[in-house]
């Protein structure tokens, strides 16, 4: 399979979006769903073909280094001064890896949604949006230049907005979708400014040109400084802000928990596995440039580490299972960012980059699985709250097993996928600094704790009243994706990831460093044991602990009041104080000027309206006098 087939993986979802969006309502729901799923299956097969061809064909290796391939590159806009925006397809290791991740998860979600969304109003619309999202996300990862990436960045934002607001009759869904869109737009503003800065100083948007000689480009922009940092640093930091907004990094994370208002498969696809890692992908894509601005990498490390701890603590106190998973996602993405931030080529052959991408890959699989399981549970229990669940292991065995696998994977227990990637991240962090290493290990322990708290609360604990209807495993379209993803989560760790994705395309052999791995396993086990003690059977111990640490618990439950701070800043300060002055100006000066114009016009009209009497004879008179005046002028001039 030639790499140029990759264009089909973009065009097919786009076509499905148009088809289902325009004509979906004309076809039966089932036909629309199956059509969308089949198209996605074809897309998946081609994406796999392209990725595998790229990874395994030796013609793309030069001196043991895998070269990025420009499959298509057409000029789209010419901006002058040699600056042009292209549209095309660029395949390199991370793009190929993302092709696999996106198509796999998207395929699973398409299949799963056939069952989950069965009978919903707007089923066809849902599949159209899924296709739009898949198209945008694939377009994002194969972008040849940063501007194309920005365009698709916005498009995934739009499709995320559409899907969060899928139940547009629910107020909470509408406000959640607006919140997500506005917060990520706000971050994208930073991204856009970063792009402009970069293009201004580098004269190109093209990734390949930028990456071919990042050092000289960064140095050429280093002369201009602002607040002590060079223009290149500012540009890259702003681009990171865009990525942080999309990837829900502290303090721009506030939209992600609310985004859980969308249908659960959407949360699995967009808000766990694919779109939220777009920020990580963006930084990874620009990584060779970031290497020349270590201060920005430090910023990324700190942001990632703080977010990881914050989200993990908040996740321990949430009671809505999707919120727990959302904060867990934030925490895990923060792991990826931290790994990128500490990656240096001189440290262990740039293991951080590889670890970050590896974790992105495995996390997509097990977090997608967790969300799909949560979807199955919510589908049965009709509630997001933990209190409505319990003892479900007896009713939903397949969901139980797959959920357990995912929990073990995220907790970092070998031999499941999460262990390997998380271990590589910890190795990379310890290489850079012991402080952040200990910090991240602690977060890993918390991860194990809150995931197993979730697990026990759902599948053990007590047995609420299920008398109105008994939960059971869902139909096959919903369980098959669970099983497939669980299998991937079991074996993904053994993929020799370093052979495929490294920061420079070279080879890297993963070997477990037991002096790092053993303590992290121990911490994870401790976390699991604590969760087991507290939550296996219904008891009052958790409540007592919560009340003994009342302030902390409440703060964590209220997400450390970050949303309230935002509300305070936007409503009280911006709307209340700044906007009042602007409003006064608008009402009195701007409107006043307009009113003055209107009043003058009105007065003039009143005074001259007698001319418009409607009496033809008056009109004739005026006309006649005018003609006479003209005649008089002519006479005086000629005679």
């Amino acid at each position: 399979m030639d790499l140029s087939y990759s264009i089909i993986t973009l065009l097919l979802p786009l076509f499905m979006f148009l088809l289902l969006g325009l004509f979906g309502m004309k076809m039966p729901k089932k036909v629309a769903g199956i059509l969308g799923t089949c198209a996605m299956l074809v897309t998946t097969v081609i994406a796999y073909g392209v990725a595998l061809k790229y990874f395994f064909d030796p013609q793309y290796m030069v001196d043991g280094v895998r070269q990025g391939q420009m499959v298509f590159n057409e000029t789209w806009l010419t901006l002058g001064h040699g600056l042009k925006v292209d549209m095309g397809i660029f395949i390199d290791p991370i793009a190929a890896m993302m092709l696999i991740v996106i198509s796999t998860i998207s395929m699973m979600v398409h299949l799963y949604s056939l069952g989950y969304m069965h009978g919903e109003k707007g089923f066809q619309r849902y599949y159209a949006f899924l296709a739009l999202f898949t198209f945008s996300m694939l377009g994002l990862v194969v972008a040849t230049n940063i501007f194309q990436m920005f365009i698709f960045f916005e498009m995934v934002g739009v499709s995320s907005y559409l899907l969060i607001g899928f139940y547009y009759e629910k107020n909470s869904a509408v406000s959640a979708s607006k919140k997500a869109f506005i917060v990520t737009r706000f971050a994208d503003l930073g991204f856009l400014i970063g792009i402009m800065l970069l293009a201004y100083y580098c004269g190109t948007f093209d990734f390949k040109t930028l990456m071919s000689n990042p050092g000289s480009i960064v140095n050429s922009a280093a002369g201009v400084t602002f607040l002590g940092c060079s223009a290149a640093s500012w540009a890259l930091a702003l681009i990171f802000v865009g990525g942080a907004g999309k990837s829900a990094m502290f303090p721009l994370h506030i939209w992600l928990p609310d985004a859980m208002e969308g249908p659960t498969p959407v949360s699995a696809l967009i808000h766990a596995a694919t779109m939220v890692v777009a920020g990580v992908y963006l930084v990874a894509r620009m990584f060779p440039m970031y290497l020349f601005t270590p201060e920005v990498l430090d910023l990324i490390t700190v942001t990632g580490a703080v977010t990881a701890l914050y989200a993990a603590v908040v996740a321990c106190a949430q009671t809505d299972i999707k919120r727990v998973l959302a904060f867990s996602t934030i925490s895990q993405i923060a792991f990826m960012f931290t790994a990128l931030g500490v990656a240096r080529p001189e440290l262990h052959e740039g293991v951080g980059y590889m670890a970050s991408m590896f974790h992105l890959f495995t996390h997509a699989m097990f977090k997608g699985l967790l969300f799909l399981c949560a979807g199955a549970i919510i589908h049965m229990v009709h509630s997001n709250e933990m209190d409505a669940m319990g003892n479900l292991r007896k009713y939903m065995p397949i969901t139980h097993i797959t959920f357990l696998i995912a929990c073990l994977a995220i907790a970092g227990i070998p031999p499941f996928a999460g262990f390997f990637s998380k271990d590589e991240i910890l190795v990379a962090v310890y290489q850079q600094s012991t402080f952040w290493g200990v910090w991240m290990s602690a977060v890993a322990g918390l991860t194990a704790f809150y995931m197993f708290r979730l697990y026990y609360r759902i599948f053990w604990w007590n047995k609420p009243d299920y008398s109105h209807h008994t939960p059971h495993d869902c139909e096959w379209v919903m369980t098959v994706p669970l099983v497939i993803l669980a299998l991937i989560s079991c074996v993904a760790g053994f993929i020799p990831f370093g052979h495929f994705v490294t920061w420079n395309g070279g080879n890297y052999d993963i070997h477990i460093m037991w002096e790092v791995a053993a303590p992290s396993i121990a911490i994870a086990v401790v976390g699991i044991v604590v969760a087991t003690v507290l939550y296996r059977k219904e008891n009052s111990l958790p409540d007592r602990i919560a009340s003994s640490m009342k302030g902390l618990h409440r703060a964590a439950y209220r997400r450390f009041y970050i949303d309230e701070i935002y509300m305070f800043v936007t409503h009280k300060i911006i709307f209340g104080i700044i906007c009042r002055g602007i409003s006064w100006f608008d009402h009195n000066i701007v409107d006043g000027f307009m009113n003055l114009l209107a009043r003058v016009t009105n007065g003039a009209a009143y005074s001259i309206r007698k001319l418009q009497s409607g009496q033809i004879q008056m009109y004739v008179w005026v006309y006649y006098i005018g003609a006479l005046l003209l005649a008089l002028v002519t006479c005086l001039l000629l005679i």
Partner: protein
């Protein structure tokens, strides 16, 4: 006394002035039409006079007047048809009352 071109044009001019006065002051539509005929007639005279004094060997002015008379006849007939129709609708022919189609 020799009758120059001015002798013929002055009465025509006065006739035209009368037409203008009538057109502006009269209220009855038919009276307005009569004023219109006066103005038209004065213009006809002008054509003929200019033909006679400037180009005596040709007949353009005369023919123009001839056709103008024919057109005036047509126009008057149509105008009177309209006036009669208006009379049927509003029961008089005052120009100041014709406000039905204004709004």
């Amino acid at each position: 006394m020799e009758l120059t071109v001015l002798y013929y044009l002055i009465p025509s001019l006065i006739m035209f002035g009368c037409g203008v006065y009538g057109f502006i002051t009269r209220k009855n539509l038919i009276a307005i039409l009569i004023s219109l005929e006066l103005m038209l007639n004065s213009v006809d005279i002008n054509f003929v006079v200019f033909n006679r004094f400037l180009f005596p060997g040709q007949m353009e002015g005369m023919f123009f007047t001839l056709f103008a008379i024919a057109i005036a006849a047509a126009e008057t007939a149509l105008a009177i048809a309209i006036i009669i129709n208006i009379f049927r609708v509003v029961k008089n022919v005052d120009v100041e009352n014709l406000t039905k189609m204004k709004y």
